[in-house]
Every structure is written in structure tokens, then in C-alpha cells.
């Protein structure tokens, strides 16, 4: 019965157990924070990738897949598929309606997706990615009062979903990071600001005169056709969460893009024969094409299973088309059919490798932490050697003595690990706020507070000197040095960006705790604490009581 009493007293009556608890908590928090951010980053890459392109992607080069509507019908008839949508992927030049410093127009290279919003919405929830939309009542409650989306003028979901103005003119939906007038705030929402940095509705959806999109058609022999220019109104902006996409991609109606790239339905004329009007004779029809078909799996169907089903479906489709008579254009015998993970392997692979590397590196850190805990416990048990002798002298068994320190280690491990998890949770949950704070110059009150604290530290150092107290003098001297360093850092701090969205793909740092890592790290913290306590305690329990009693 003495073991719990002593274990609790040892824990609460000395400073060193608190140092051990702090060491365990910091080790646990460190590992959880790093691995959570890395895992969250990987999850975000995977989820964003999946929500952007569905489960399976059928694709071909810029010459496109003919008879894609028919193929989509075949795919949608598969029990493994829920929906499919055609896309044309190409690159183009976007001339924005705002000028450059020399009076010209700003022209950017963009990735153009010609889409069919209605079917794409069934595959990737396109509607939900339109940024300027009326928020739900629940979302509206969490928004800042000055969020433009609360203003009906900014609610352009209908236009964005139709990819057309209210008057029916074809429109573009651009990535939210393309317009330089969109400024991301600390809560992740956007404001439209004038070049002077003032919120200004005049710069919303750069709508002064529309944007001009230039595309260059490519023939199936690889030669370039003449460039095609077309003016569009920007009808909405989208936010995928992946910076590279939000900063580069432009969505346009598929029919318009097909027409500009000459991938639309068109007659095939004979180079030699003329009709009765003296024009080249029409001998057939070239079908409309799409370069990509994105497919969503039915509930419970894995992307790999869907991929195999789509592959088989395409083979049957080709066989059927080859059997049709009079076709002037035949579908290619092979197209690429890949799951979203295979398609994004170049994006996901490096992140996976980085996470594994982090795990290995932090495993080493973890071993160092374990050694630290062991060292602290060694000191604790060493300090208690005489107590062990006393306990043995009054009849305590070796196992009983060992149990005291195992309980002690267990208590420190449990308390430290739980605090570590709480600390990690607190930091991970507020990581973006912390990052945003680092991105801004320090508040004046904070700088003043730091320098007042410096003055206080200096005064206490002098007080220690006057009272001839070495402990107070040394403690407050180093505390003052640390406070001065903080004061200087805060004064010089102009804000810096650690998480650069253009490097890390996402505009926000992942803030989800990796539960598996949290659990294993917590258990690891407890186990290391118990082992750290058990080894020196076993050594002490083995010592003769007489030797322990003589220990000084």
C-alpha cells in the first residue's frame, strides 16, 4: 500500500518530476505535430486530387477521344460507375482586363479546362468549388462580418454553374489565385481589393471589359493551326485548395473550347471531289472530341476496380465502333485509363516519400527523447537511493520498491504524454493562426510588454546582486538575456512566410491531428517513461539495504 503513496508524493513534492513531465510532453508533442502536419499534407494532396478528377481518368492527347458522348453513356451504364464527364485539357493565354505598368495588358499562361458543369458536378462536386456563392446559414454564422460573400452582389453561383453571364454570353471561371485583386485573409477567406489595398467591389471578378482567351488548335498530325481568340466575361472564381491549380487553371464551356481547338463536330470534305454547288464534297462527319473523361465510382467500388471495368468497357466500345460501317474517324485502339492516385503519382509520390523520411528522422529524435527521459529517471532514482535503503530496512521487497518507481514512471509517462497530446492538439489546431501571426509585424503592445519585462528582469538581476544571492542573480541575468533577445526579435520582426502556398500547393497548413501517430506516440511516451524508471529502479532495488542507507 506504500507504493501509490510514495509514487504520488515523489511526483508532487519535487521539481525534477515536473522537468521529466515537461520532457515527455515536449517529445510527444514534437513528434505528433510534425507527423500530423506531414500526414495532413499528404491527405490534403490525395483528397484534393481525388475531388478534382474523380476516381478514374480516361485520357488521350490533344487530338482527343472521338465519340466520347457514346463512350460516356457506356461507362455510365457500368454498375461500377456512378457518373462521367468530358473535359478538354489544354494550355492557353489569358489576357486579363487589368493593365501592366507600361499600359499594356497582363497576359498569363493558363491551363484551360473545357468542362460541362452539369456532368462535372456529378463527378467532382464542381458547384461546391465556386467561391463566390451564397453561403449556407451555418457557414454564414462563422464568416467575418465583412466577408463579401454575405453581400448578394457577390453571390454568383448561377453564373458560375452555367459558365455564362445572365445574358447568355459564354463565361470563364478562373482560379481564385489568378486575379491579383483577390487577397487571402488570415481566416482563409478572400477580399477583393484595389491596387491601393482597399476593399473595392470594382475589382471583383475583373469585370471591367472581360478577359480574352487565346488557344492554339493542334492537328492530329501535330502541326499548329492558327490561334483562336475569344473574349469572355469572368463569371465566377473557384477554389480547389491546391495552390498550383487555383493559380493556373481556367474553366470554360466545353463547346466553346471544342470550337476554338477544332475538336467540335465538323463535316469531312473530299480533297478531290466537288458537290453540285462547286464546293468540296462532304464525305463524312468528324465527331466532337474530349481529351479526358473523368469518372466517379459507384458507392463501395474501389478506383482500381472501376479502372479495370472502364478499360474493358473501352475495348468493347472500340470493337463496336470498328464494326460500324461508314465511319471516317475511328476511336484510337488505346487510351490511358488511370485511377486518380496513378494520375497524381508525381504529386503524391514525393509527399509520401517526404513523410516517410520525416518518420525516420523523428524516430531518431524519439530515441534521443527516450534517452533524455532515462537520464532524468536515473537522476531521480539515484537521488532516492537512500529512501530505497530505508524501505528495504522496514521490510519492503525488491518488487515492491521496483513497483514504486514503475508507478512513478507510469504517472510521469501518462501525465506527460497526455499533456503532450493536448499541447500538440492546441498547436496543430491553431497552426494557421500562429503562422499568420508570424507573418505580421509584432503588435506594438507586445513589443512594449517585452521591453517592460526586460526592464523588470534587469531590476531583479540588480536586486539579486544587492542581496548577494548567486541563484537570483544568475537566474534573472539569463532570464533578462532571453527577454532582451525576445524584445529585439519582436522589434525587428517584419513578418515572414514559412508556409508558402506556391511551394506547398495548399493555401492553408493542415490542422488535423494524425490519430494513429498521436496514439502510438502517447503509448511510446508512457512505455519509454516506464522503461526509463524501471532500469535504474531495478538497479537500486538490487543494491543491499546497508549500501543504500550509506549512500550520500
Amino acid at each position: 500500500m506504500y507504493a501509490p503513496l510514495l509514487a504520488n508524493r515523489y511526483l508532487t513534492s519535487r521539481i525534477i518530476p515536473f522537468i521529466a513531465v515537461a520532457a515527455v510532453a515536449l517529445c510527444v508533442a514534437l513528434v505528433i505535430i510534425v507527423v500530423s502536419v506531414m500526414s495532413g499534407f499528404l491527405d490534403m494532396v490525395r483528397e484534393s486530387g481525388k475531388t478534382l478528377i474523380g476516381d478514374v481518368v480516361v485520357s488521350r492527347d490533344i487530338t482527343g477521344i472521338p465519340y466520347y458522348e457514346e463512350l460516356i453513356r457506356d461507362i455510365e451504364a457500368l454498375p461500377e460507375a456512378e457518373a462521367a464527364s468530358p473535359i478538354i485539357e489544354t494550355y492557353g493565354l489569358l489576357q486579363m482586363p487589368y493593365g501592366t505598368s507600361d499600359g499594356g495588358s497582363s497576359i498569363e499562361t493558363v491551363q484551360v479546362w473545357g468542362i460541362d458543369p452539369a456532368t462535372l458536378d456529378r463527378v467532382t462536386e464542381y458547384r461546391g468549388k465556386l467561391y463566390w456563392a451564397k453561403p449556407t446559414d451555418e457557414a454564414a454564422r462563422t464568416m467575418l462580418p465583412d466577408d463579401p460573400r454575405l453581400d448578394p452582389m457577390y453571390q454568383r453561383q448561377a453564373e458560375g454553374f452555367a459558365l455564362a453571364t445572365a445574358e447568355g454570353q459564354p463565361g470563364l471561371v478562373t482560379g481564385i489565385e489568378i486575379s491579383p485583386f483577390n487577397r487571402r485573409t488570415t481566416d482563409g477567406s478572400y477580399r477583393t481589393e484595389s491596387p491601393l489595398g482597399k476593399q473595392d467591389a470594382g475589382f471583383f471578378l475583373p469585370n471591367t471589359s472581360g478577359a480574352t482567351l487565346t488557344l492554339v488548335p493542334v492537328t492530329d498530325r501535330g502541326s499548329l493551326g492558327g490561334e483562336k481568340k475569344r473574349r469572355f466575361a469572368i463569371v465566377n472564381e473557384f477554389q480547389s485548395g491546391v495552390y498550383q491549380i487555383d493559380a493556373q487553371r481556367v474553366l470554360a464551356p466545353i463547346a466553346v473550347v471544342q470550337e476554338m481547338l477544332r475538336l467540335d463536330r465538323a463535316p469531312i470534305v473530299s480533297p478531290d471531289e466537288l458537290d453540285e454547288n462547286g464546293r468540296p464534297k462532304v464525305v463524312g462527319e468528324s465527331p466532337a472530341r474530349a481529351t479526358t473523361i473523368v469518372v466517379k465510382a459507384a458507392a463501395g467500388v474501389s478506383p482500381a476496380r472501376l479502372r479495370d471495368a472502364v478499360n474493358a468497357c473501352y475495348s468493347q466500345f472500340v470493337d463496336r465502333k470498328l464494326g460500324e460501317r461508314g465511319l471516317r474517324v475511328l476511336p484510337p485502339p488505346m487510351v490511358s485509363v488511370a485511377t486518380w492516385e496513378e494520375r497524381l503519382a508525381d504529386l503524391i509520390g514525393p509527399v509520401q516519400k517526404e513523410r516517410e523520411m520525416m518518420r525516420i528522422l523523428f524516430s531518431i529524435v524519439y530515441v534521443v527523447c527516450a534517452a533524455l527521459v532515462l537520464a532524468i529517471f536515473w537522476a531521480i532514482v539515484q537521488e532516492k537511493t537512500r529512501d530505497i535503503g530505508i524501505l528495504r530496512a522496514v521490510g519492503a521487497s525488491r518488487v515492491g520498491v521496483l513497483w514504486i518507481f514503475l508507478r512513478y514512471g507510469l504517472l510521469i509517462g501518462v501525465v506527460g504524454s497526455m499533456l503532450g497530446v493536448l499541447l500538440a492538439w492546441g498547436i496543430v489546431a491553431r497552426l494557421n493562426d500562429i503562422h499568420d501571426l508570424l507573418g505580421m509585424p509584432a503588435a506594438t503592445w507586445l513589443k512594449v510588454l517585452a521591453w517592460v519585462a526586460c526592464a523588470g528582469g534587469l531590476a531583479l538581476t540588480v536586486r539579486g546582486l544587492v542581496r548577494a544571492s548567486a541563484l537570483h542573480t544568475v537566474f534573472w541575468f539569463f532570464a533578462t538575456v532571453a527577454l532582451v533577445a525576445i524584445g529585439v526579435a519582436l522589434t525587428l520582426h517584419r513578418g515572414f512566410l514559412v508556409w508558402d502556398p506556391s511551394v506547398y500547393y495548399f493555401s492553408r497548413i493542415p490542422t488535423r491531428i494524425d490519430l494513429f501517430t498521436a496514439t502510438t506516440t502517447m503509448v511510446g511516451g508512457i512505455v519509454f517513461s516506464v522503461i526509463g524508471a524501471a532500469i535504474p529502479a531495478a538497479r537500486a532495488a538490487d543494491t543491499d539495504p546497508v549500501k543504500s542507507l550509506r549512500y550520500e
Binding site: 503513496l5 510514495l6 530496512a393
Partner: protein, 231 residues
């Protein structure tokens, strides 16, 4: 009188690295039940070592003679029996008190009783044990110090707590190693009075001291020199 403790040609050698240091060469002595025996001798003569061997804190050499308690050879005790012997049959009082600094006076005094209690029995006997310990401490003149820590006590008070701790399990024999060696004469005298009271009540007392005046209060003196008991 019944013989309670007996050491017969006991030997004890300590090893300091490769050097063997014989501390007890041939120590024999007996202690009868209810007797007060003082072991006297100069520093390094082996008197504390003999006390530790009598109390089961240490083991004699392999070629040593036996140490008997109520006729049973301590050398034959297994770990559990040896722990029981230290917990129930003997009580120790040390020169430097050896109290646990984190525990209160009451907790220190009841420590041997706690060692012998399971959690279940503790729940049943907690209140009675506290009362018994408080009563014992009261007889040691410490009723006003129950909640204090050892650091808050004087040397004499600490030694009284150590005596209460040694007596809490009502052992048959109390082994005291220089119990007044760290106290002034007046305080030491008070401690001896306390021990004498207990001895008069039937407790067997073996006390190591180098102070002849302290030893003079015992019924019998055993002198030890160069590791051997002089007869």
C-alpha cells in the same frame, strides 16, 4: 530467560574492489527476551555491522556461523521471510534517523505497517492504523507534529519519529544504531528515557553505541574489538 537472538562465530568480510576487508572475524553473542544489551566498541570495530547482520539487513559470509532468531537460522530465510523478519520481528533506529522527507510524521511512523498491508486490508484498517500511529506518536511526545515533514522537526523529534516507526509493528526486538549519536546530551537522554520505557514494557533492545555513559543504561554490555566480541 528465553534466548531471542544469537550470533555464533559470525564472520563478515566486505570487498573493496579486489581487496577483502574482514570486519567481523568471530563475533558471538546472545540476547535474551526482554533484555537491553549495549554493543560498545571503537569506530570501525564492527559493531554496526553486527547489528545489521542481527537485523537481517546484511548477510554473513558463507563460512560464517549462524545468526538465530527464536532458534531459526536467518541464513535459511528466503527473500519473503527475510522481508517479513525486517518488517514484523525487528525494528530499526538509525543514528541519522533515515526518515522519508516527502512523508509527514504520521506517514513516516506508519510506513512499516503500510509495507505489510495489501490495498484491501489498507481500506479496512486505514482508520484504525492512523489512530494507532497517532497514539504511538503521542506517547513519543509528537502529537502536535503529526502533519509536519521531517525537515520541519528538530533532531530529537526526528529520532522520536524513527523510534515510533520502529515500534509501529510491535516487533519483538528493537535494534538501535547510535540512537543518540547525533543529538545533544539532554535530547539524547530524552531518547534513552523513551527507549527505557519501552524496554521496561517488555521490548528487547539491542543498542550500538560508542558512548560508555549511554551503554551504562543497558542491562548488559557486549564489547567488540577488531571484529571479535570480547568476553
Amino acid at each position: 530467560m528465553t534466548m531471542l537472538l544469537a550470533a555464533e562465530h559470525v564472520k563478515k568480510t566486505y570487498r573493496l574492489g579486489k581487496v577483502a576487508v574482514p570486519v567481523l572475524r568471530d563475533a558471538s553473542m546472545t540476547v535474551a527476551e526482554g533484555e537491553w544489551v549495549s554493543i560498545v566498541g571503537s569506530s570501525g570495530s564492527g559493531k554496526s555491522t553486527l547489528l545489521h547482520l542481527l537485523g537481517g539487513l546484511d548477510r554473513p559470509d558463507a563460512d560464517s556461523g549462524p545468526i538465530r532468531f527464536n532458534g531459526a537460522d536467518l541464513r535459511a530465510f528466503g527473500p519473503a521471510r527475510q522481508n517479513h523478519y525486517r518488517n514484523r520481528d525487528v525494528g530499526f533506529v538509525f543514528q541519522f534517523y533515515h526518515l522519508l522527507p516527502e512523508l509527514t510524521v504520521l506517514e513516516n511512523a506508519m510506513l512499516p505497517a503500510l509495507v505489510g498491508l495489501s490495498r484491501l486490508r489498507w481500506l479496512g484498517e486505514r482508520s484504525a492504523l492512523r489512530d494507532r500511529t497517532a497514539e504511538l506518536l503521542k506517547t513519543c511526545g509528537l502529537s502536535h507534529r503529526l502533519g509536519h515533514r521531517p525537515a520541519e522537526l528538530s533532531g530529537g523529534e526526528r529520532q522520536r519519529v524513527a523510534i515510533a516507526r520502529a515500534l509501529i509493528n510491535e516487533p519483538k526486538v528493537l535494534l538501535a544504531d547510535e540512537p543518540t549519536g547525533n543529538l545533544d546530551v539532554r535530547t539524547g537522554s530524552g531518547i534513552l528515557d523513551l527507549l527505557a520505557e519501552r524496554q521496561a514494557a517488555g521490548l528487547t533492545l539491542v543498542m550500538v553505541t560508542h558512548d560508555e555513559s549511554v551503554a551504562a543504561r543497558a542491562h548488559r554490555r557486549v564489547r567488540i574489538a577488531d571484529g571479535a566480541v570480547e568476553h
